[in-house]
């Protein structure tokens, strides 16, 4: 029953999306019928309702253990805890595609509802592009990777999974299906996995809205700043989720994958990082178009490029082209996804070239100074695009071309990525320090130098602290210096803002009130500084944990200790064959960590074995002891024999790694502030403008 409801809802959602495209374009372009465009809007909302029904029916099937549905059979098993039953919706290809369509449809419905009045001109084409994308993904769900297929027993005795009942087939016994059910991939049984994919997907699909409005501007010819206004906020929302998704993914890798790090330059991580890079470039350069009416063509490329790289990332991940910890099994959706990516990118780029050739994307201003803020922003964009290019080449270009065209296997590893991206990242930090204090239009070195003096001194002072604490590596110190400069500039600029307000309102406000008012009056600017501060703190954590990571591998007998970095780790014994609620069998080592002769923690790294899982059936869970200074991180090594008397451990000391998570938190807060919808004008000015029709409405 649930399978039928889900299947029919998904099918009708697909039809509703196709109808919305036709009604929107025909109504706007040919029939000039307001009623038809409204009908398209209603179809978008109907599409959302239907996809929700489809998603819910699969979710209910998972919760109520309908193992006849092959997807439920594949990703869950009777002994699985409820939370993983819930998250199994995105535990494998078919379900996650449906979930993806659901989120995309939700974003589209939200954009249509919230921006209907304020963006009425852009709406018809925006609806068309949004629904074309949603229809494509729903089509994949219905025709290629159907999560509602059920198991059938054929008269021949074989079992097949099919959406429709094959001739003469009967439903297999539920108990037999329950017994053979796979259970969720063990690697996905982690709390981080419950939220990492939804966040990442929200980040990915969220870029559909800026993309759709950009495309709509190109298609309709309304190339004013309308599309920029509406797409900027949506891009910020998507960017927030994408950042959160990347951070949570890093945390998950750190906790579960057991390689001692949080970022391995894995092709799929990189695939998720690529849209982030282009999206970040867009969020910066869009300011130049708002303030100076420049870079119009470029912004179009960025907004379309961001979504194009989202689709590419999805394609690369799901078609199983590259080997990765994330690889989905081979699947028939590769060719349609590649085709869709090509069409979307080509249509976008051709529209840009066409509008440009008609002179409609002409900039209002010229670049006047090398040190103006717009010039520095352009440089920032170059760096982001360069990062995109080298990461794309390293993760997809070189491996694919070498494997399929040169007959060898070239995999570019950590060395490539670290050495190629590090200088570019440092250049970004430098720009992050310098650009905020440069002026729009014309800026001189002398003026910038004066403003930079204080942050420079503070950065030098903080680097001095690192030197005192024993850091001698010149490159690391240079890195810390550049990263800290960016952070100090953010803090210093906020401080100057408070100071200026205090001058004007000292009698009425205390310092905190001034700071609050600053964020209320100009959330984009000061939220932006807060994001920069977050990125600074992440940068400190990355440099610390990358350059100064210590690792060792030792085999210890019971009672024996290993020494590393001032710590002493004693092996106290092994608890073998511990069985957890979900059926996993755990071997847990008991370790005592001491420092300076004092016991500070008991660590229990473990290896989990999942007897019923077919594919990856074991995971290595680290034991760790965290302080602000570093993480002491121990793994029970998987491929060496372990016994109660001796075991092999891999030990890492990751300095400053926790700053990555703390910085991430600040970044999220900053983004929330920057994107918080609030009027930036004082009430009396707003009252005067009330009559003006060009309000930002609810966007």
């Amino acid at each position: 029953m649930l399978a039928e409801i889900g299947l029919i809802a998904a099918l009708f959602a697909f039809i509703a999306a196709v109808y919305a495209i036709i009604a929107a374009v025909y109504g706007e372009r040919f029939a000039r019928s307001e009623a038809m465009v409204r009908s398209a809007r209603n179809a978008v909302i109907l599409n959302f309702i239907l996809v929700t029904v489809a998603c819910l029916s699969l979710e209910v099937a998972l919760m109520t253990e309908q193992y006849q549905i092959s997807y439920v059979w594949m990703v869950s098993s009777p002994d699985m805890p409820t939370i993983y039953r819930l998250t199994a919706l995105w535990g494998s290809q078919a379900g996650s595609l449906l979930f993806w369509s659901f989120l995309m449809s939700a974003f589209s419905a939200a954009a249509v509802v919230f921006n209907w009045k304020s963006q009425r001109r852009l709406m018809p084409y925006a609806i068309a592009y949004m629904m074309a994308t949603v229809a494509f993904f729903l089509g994949l769900t219905v025709f290629f990777e159907n999560p509602f297929e059920r198991w059938w027993a054929l008269p021949s005795g074989d079992f097949v999974a099919s959406a429709f009942i094959p001739a003469g087939a009967t439903a297999p016994s539920i108990s037999m299906l329950a017994q053979s059910a796979n259970g969720l991939n063990p690697l996905l049984r982690h709390f981080g996995m419950a939220i990492h994919p939804p966040m990442l997907y929200l980040g990915f699909v969220g870029f559909i809205i800026p993309f759709a409005f950009g495309m709509s501007a190109l298609a309709s010819g309304d190339l004013s700043t309308n599309w920029i206004k509406v797409s900027r906020r949506w891009a910020l929302i998507a960017w927030l989720f994408l950042s959160l998704g990347l951070l949570l993914g890093g945390r998950w890798a750190y906790d579960v994958l057991g390689w001692g790090g949080y970022w391995g330059w894995d092709p799929v991580e990189n695939a998720a990082f690529l849209p982030w890079l282009i999206g970040t470039a867009y969020l910066h350069s869009v300011m130049i178009q708002e303030k100076r009416g420049m870079l119009k063509t470029w912004n179009m490329f960025l907004v379309i490029g961001t979504f194009s790289s989202v689709i590419f990332a999805t394609f690369a991940t799901r078609a199983g082209l590259v080997d990765s910890v994330h690889s989905f099994a081979q699947s028939p959706i590769g060719p349609p996804m590649l085709t869709f990516w090509l069409l979307l990118t080509l249509i976008g780029f051709v529209l840009i070239i066409w509008r440009r050739s008609r002179g409609e994307l002409k900039d209002d201003n010229q670049f006047r100074s090398v040190f103006s803020r717009e010039s520095l922003f352009v440089l920032n964009n170059f760096v982001f695009v360069a990062l995109f290019a080298v990461i794309f080449w390293g993760s997809f270009g070189a491996p694919i071309i070498s494997e399929y065209f040169m007959g060898t296997n070239i995999t570019l590893g950590l060395d490539y990525f670290n050495s190629v991206t590090a200088p570019l990242f440092l250049l970004l930090y430098l720009l992050m320090g310098v650009a905020p204090i440069s002026a729009w239009g014309v800026s001189t070195v002398a003026r910038m130098g004066r403003t930079l003096l204080t942050p420079l001194a503070l950065a030098a002072l903080s680097v001095g602290l690192f030197v005192i604490s024993g850091v001698t590596n010149v490159w690391a110190l240079l890195g810390y210096g550049l990263v800290l400069l960016a952070g100090w500039v953010a803090i210093y600029e906020t401080y100057r803002g408070v100071l200026a307000r205090r001058k004007a309102h000292a009698s009425r406000e205390n310092v905190l009130q001034s700071l609050g008012a600053l964020f209320t009056r100009n959330p984009r600017r000061y939220g932006g500084y807060m994001i920069h501060l977050g990125i600074t703190i992440i940068g400190l954590g990355v440099i610390g944990s990358m350059v100064f990571q210590q690792e060792t591998q030792q085999t210890l007998t019971v009672g024996q200790s290993a020494q590393i970095g001032g710590y002493e780790l004693r092996y106290d014994g092994l608890d073998t064959n511990q069985i957890a609620d979900d059926g996993r069998i755990m071997d847990i080592a008991n370790l005592t960590l001491s420092r300076g002769g004092q016991e500070i923690a008991h660590l229990r790294p473990r290896r989990d074995f999942f007897p019923e899982a077919t594919d990856m059936n074991s995971t290595t869970i680290a034991g760790s002891y965290s302080t602000i200074e570093n993480d002491f991180y121990v793994l029970l090594v998987n491929w060496e024999p372990i016994s109660a008397s001796s075991a092999t451990f891999k030990i890492y000391i990751n300095p400053l790694v926790n700053l990555v998570w703390w910085g991430g938190l600040i970044l999220i807060l900053g983004t929330l502030l920057a994107g918080y919808p609030r009027e930036t004008l004082p009430a009396r000015v707003r009252a005067k403008l009330e009559l003006a029709p060009q309000g930002q409405g609810a966007d």
């Binding site: 070239i353 209002d364 065209f405």
Partner: protein
């Protein structure tokens, strides 16, 4: 430009038609630009990327063979005996790809060895282990650890694993007496399952 946009905003909502030239602007005066070199390069670039990945997709379709003639290869075992797969025609050959760094291989190794001990005396059956992307001394240590006594060879230059399009280890292929692949086993295999398959092939031969 600003005037253009203001004009446009005063138009009735549904009359934005991109075929109509914009009203009263400098834009009209300008001659339309020709398609620049940059644009052409860009479009060719996008198509080229799609082509590369399209070809890769087609290439990727080549998965592990589960029927047809088994790709032949020559190999030299760890203890120095050289063979070609064609030398083994007429026998049932079990080819198992493994690696010392692979967890599931460890679980499987005793099963394989135990199955081999069952067939050791039977001249009709050959077991062949192929160490995929492994390092020699570690492979040998692994074989010693599990007391593996059947033929084992390193996959030098990953030639053999490429011919069989393996995607990971362990993967097992069973080649029948005519040199055709009788069975491809994706994950770890048990002694009993292996014996069922091989006995089936041996029985088929004796009946035929």
């Amino acid at each position: 430009m600003a005037t253009t946009l203001n004009n446009k905003h005063q138009e009735p909502i549904l009359e934005t038609n991109e075929d109509e030239p914009l009203v009263g602007t400098e834009i009209e005066v300008e001659a339309p630009r020709k398609l620049g070199l940059g644009s052409i390069v860009l479009i060719i670039g996008v198509i080229a990327i799609a082509l590369v990945f399209g070809i890769a997709l087609v290439g990727q379709r080549q998965t592990q063979p589960d029927s047809g003639v088994a790709p032949t290869f020559s190999f030299e075992t760890f203890d120095g005996q050289a063979y070609n797969l064609t030398d083994l025609r007429g026998k049932v050959v079990m080819i198992n790809f493994w690696a010392s760094w692979c967890g599931p291989c460890r679980a499987e190794a005793p099963e394989l060895q135990s199955a081999w001990e069952y067939y050791q005396a039977n001249d009709e059956v050959v077991f062949l282990g192929i160490a995929y992307a492994d390092n020699g001394p570690r492979s040998i240590a692994y074989m010693e650890e599990f007391g593996i006594s059947y033929l084992n060879a390193p996959d030098l230059g990953t030639r053999i694993s490429e011919a069989y399009h393996i995607q990971g280890v362990p993967e097992t292929f069973i080649v029948d007496q005519d040199g055709n692949i009788a069975q491809f086993i994706y994950a770890g295999i048990s002694r009993d399952r292996l014996i069922t398959i091989i006995d089936g092939l041996l029985a088929r031969e004796s009946v035929g």
